[in-house]
Symmetry: C2
Subunit: 421 residues, 2 copies
């Protein structure tokens, strides 16, 4: 049988065509397929309309040898995926007795007095020749359909049902049928540089990577506060690919230096957390314009109680005095958004928490509050690590939440650098 | 000429087929198209491969009368959208002299000494018959192609270029060609209920709405910590639709009651912020397991310095005593995750901030730290508003960040209810 190598993903659901909802299942599906060596060549979203779903399946089968659909497998009239796939493949629907039995058992187990509603039997009407994929977390079974050399796979929409089913398939049927040269990917996360600088210093490496046999592909993704270098390759085996990427990442970090903060998927708050655990240090944050975001990110990391004891959000000047012992005269002299005040905030929380490291952040997140001297986006960050102290004034662009995020990112990065230097 | 009514959106870019990147332009495009009365019937993502893009355009044109592509309009070999559309429509490529002139002028204005690189001229090679849509923020012009009664629209990928171009089209060409019965949408946000409860109480209204002429469509979206009721309709005019939805939202809120916290797009932190401003009250938060998230959300709202002065994150027991005057004996007697401690935290921050309202949150966000009595996800929330005090023990499900979010949501909602009662 031909190995599967080109996949298309179709998300079914009219709610996914509204302005407030995205199909995110496809990210997980893509990751798992890439790990098996399959490329995703196209994704589609269609509504709960049989002809639309059928057309999407037909179009996908013209270019892909694996088509994965998610959603539309429930018991209601809105759930059209089974019928649409049968239509696209030119197969009749037939009742699968195992599914009916499974549904009855599931229904009985839930302790309802009444028998299973007849419309649940819709879930047992499947395209002829389909194999059932067990769903341990919901009533909608998955379906695997071999069609010539190609495969159509139907999975339920809820992520908590889809994910374990796909994981089970990855260990079983899908692995057997996949082309077997996995695409391996690694991400280098970078702080304190802009995209074009990264592009420039990496130029010679890009060229080397492209000329390798097999080549290593590289892409830069730029986001506010972070740049990501994605490298990927397909080699004889996953281990060979991992080795090639180890080398590529090593070379990239050699060129980028300390600005590369993560090569293993960790976020900046995890990197800082691991450094604090390694060194047995505790951290406290005095936040003004970031409003608690830095501490919230630090405590997003499991086990962060090992290094976070106390932080304060001091929005008003009075709070800066009350909680951090800041002399009102200092604020009167320099303004609340100033390096002397940021340093005093860092020192104040370090003493009061008490902690080994103190961070102070004060700025103007906007949209109002800016002045010609200190426009919206001006943020002063100070860090005190043991007896070392650093302060820097930043100017961030974007809306309020982007300013907050970039300020948090820069504060965490400042601590990271001070711990590594 | 036939009015446009059914749209398909195609995002072009191989990076959008990786596990870390989603097409988000389509959300904005959908919103603007809906406002003009167009339905989005399908979305697709394809890589930078000419045949794949061409096939997607052909498939979209079979069912939609407006096809909007984003991305792939740059000057490099990877930018294949122009060629792919020409191929799909069976049109030759022809140089548009206005584009060449525009690119040369743009290049000259940037003050480079050298002439425009020849590969930039690729951007001037467009499908015959295409009209240029000006791009004020980048080099890639948009293209509008009338094809029989249908329209194919090519827009650049960067949101900051795409958005103003689409907005300009919405005022101009697109409005002229749209079917003219705008789809109007409204969202009711609901806290403190589960999806099936909302579905049940709204059952009779769903039926009334569906039987109206024209009907009102309703969908429930359930997320951890919030449920959204989306209602939408298409009437003779946008004003008539808005009126019909006003009535529907009014009836829904009548049934849902105080659990409906927003009918105008505001998030819970905005609703609480507005209530605080109305009443001239200040709020302070003592956060343990939420780690600063509640205060960060409160301060995401512009103008929140009117009601937030100070909050504390007291992760350790010692910090609870130091910053909130909590008697260590209280913690020893009841445990840190208990209603007496949560109340003492709320009272402590209310007194210390000082504020009119204090919130105290203590719990076990996981993944470790649970006990048989107090499993992971146990969170105690207390709120003190003037002389009123409320405390409640919740049990949330999901990972650490979901527990944090749901706890923040429940804390803000507790304050909202106490202010409204």
């Amino acid at each position: 049988m031909k190995a599967l190598s080109r996949a298309a993903i179709i998300a079914v659901g009219s709610e996914l065509l509204t302005p407030s909802k995205l199909d995110t299942n496809s990210l997980f599906v893509t990751e798992r397929l890439n790990a098996l060596g399959l490329d995703v060549i196209a994704k589609a979203v269609v509504g709960d309309v049989r002809d639309d779903v059928a057309q999407a399946v037909g179009a996908a089968l013209a270019r892909a040898d694996l088509v994965i659909l998610s959603g539309g497998l429930g018991p209601t009239d809105d759930d059209v995926t089974r019928e649409a796939v049968a239509q696209a493949l030119g197969r009749p629907l037939a009742e699968d007795e195992r599914i009916t039995a499974h549904l009855r058992a599931r229904f009985a187990a839930r302790g309802f007095a009444m028998p299973m509603p007849e419309n649940n039997r819709r879930q047992a009407m499947v395209p002829a020749g389909a194999h059932v994929i067990e769903n341990t977390r919901g009533s909608a079974p998955g379906l695997w359909i071999d069609h010539d050399d190609r495969v159509v796979l139907l999975l339920p929409g809820p992520p908590r049902e889809l994910k374990p089913m796909l994981t089970a398939l990855e260990e079983g049927l899908l692995r057997e049928r996949a082309s077997g040269t996995p695409l391996v990917r690694r991400v280098v996360r970078i702080a304190g540089r802009i995209e074009s600088q990264v592009d420039e210093v990496l130029g010679p490496l890009y060229k080397q990577w492209a000329e390798r046999q097999p080549p290593i592909a590289a892409t830069i993704l730029a986001m506010p506060g972070s740049i990501e270098l994605h490298v990927s390759t397909r080699q004889g085996s996953a281990a060979a690919a991992a080795l090639a990427l180890d080398e590529a990442v090593h070379d990239a970090v050699g060129v980028i230096g300390l600005d590369a903060y993560s090569t293993d998927g960790r976020l900046l708050e995890e990197v800082v957390g691991d450094l604090l655990v390694d060194r047995g240090l505790h951290i406290g944050v005095a936040e003004s314009c970031t409003g608690g975001l830095i501490t919230s990110r630090l405590t997003d990391v499991p086990g962060s109680s090992r290094y976070v004891d106390a932080s304060v959000v001091t929005y008003s000047n009075q709070a800066k005095s009350d909680f951090l012992d800041i002399d009102p005269a200092l604020i009167a002299q320099h303004g609340a958004v100033s390096e002397p005040v940021a340093i005093a905030m860092a020192e104040g929380i370090k003493r009061r928490a008490p902690a080994d490291i103190g961070i102070g952040v004060t700025g103007i997140a906007g949209p109002s509050g800016g002045t010609p001297d200190k426009p919206v986006g001006t943020v002063v960050i100070a860090a005190v690590v043991a007896s070392r102290c650093r302060a820097r004034t930043f100017r961030f662009y974007g809306d309020r939440s982007l300013v907050k995020f970039q300020a948090a990112q820069s504060a965490l990065d400042m601590v990271r650098r001070m711990l590594l230097e």
